[in-house]
Assembly symmetry: C2
Homo-oligomer: 113 residues x 2
């Protein structure tokens, strides 16, 4: 359980990256396609794809000015399957964890009075 493990899980523990993984699980996509499907900004997608690539979650195939991203199937898919199992069992608890859940959220500046 080293620092590497932590990095590995960090790559997973982010909304944008998980969304990308979810999409790529179906089929390879370009940056623009991912943008359209998620509704997220392009630079946001690029930054996070870079992270995923760096960590070995995705591979790229340049094609002209496009870059096709696809998911690594050897380890990422099996891991996703495994935690589906865990989540089935602990859904309720995960949902209301105070430390990492939404309830830990503080008031946003924009909400402050």
């Amino acid at each position: 359980m080293s620092n590497l493990h932590r990095l590995f899980f960090k790559a997973f523990s982010n909304k944008t990256r998980l969304e990308i993984i979810r999409l790529l699980r179906k089929k390879p996509l370009t940056v623009t396609e991912i943008c359209k499907k998620t509704g997220f900004e392009q630079s946001r997608i690029s930054h996070n794809l870079k992270c995923l690539e760096h960590c070995g979650f995705v591979k790229v195939t340049p094609n002209g000015s496009f870059r096709k991203y696809e998911l690594d199937k050897e380890t990422i898919i099996p891991i996703v399957d495994l935690f589906e199992k865990h989540i089935k069992k602990y859904r309720k608890r995960l949902e209301c964890c105070k430390v990492i859940g939404q309830s830990n959220r503080r008031m946003k500046k924009s909400e402050a009075r």
Copy 2:
């Protein structure tokens, strides 16, 4: 790939919690024992144990004023094994990812001039 997945991975992606998991992998321990072995503060351990318990990673057995924490073996151990495999392959890349790696770190206030 929902918000739940994110929470699940978040539970893993923290130094303190990973250290606790590493220790509990060997045998069940009380809070004080974990404190001693890690050198981390007691409230830090308690807060994070609570998170782990909440997320179904650990179970507690109260015993007098002690509380023995042990790891869930059904899903957590297999997952750990799976990512060992991934890490073996991508060690180098994970180590230098700019987005989630150490190099993303900004200067601390105490270091500012």
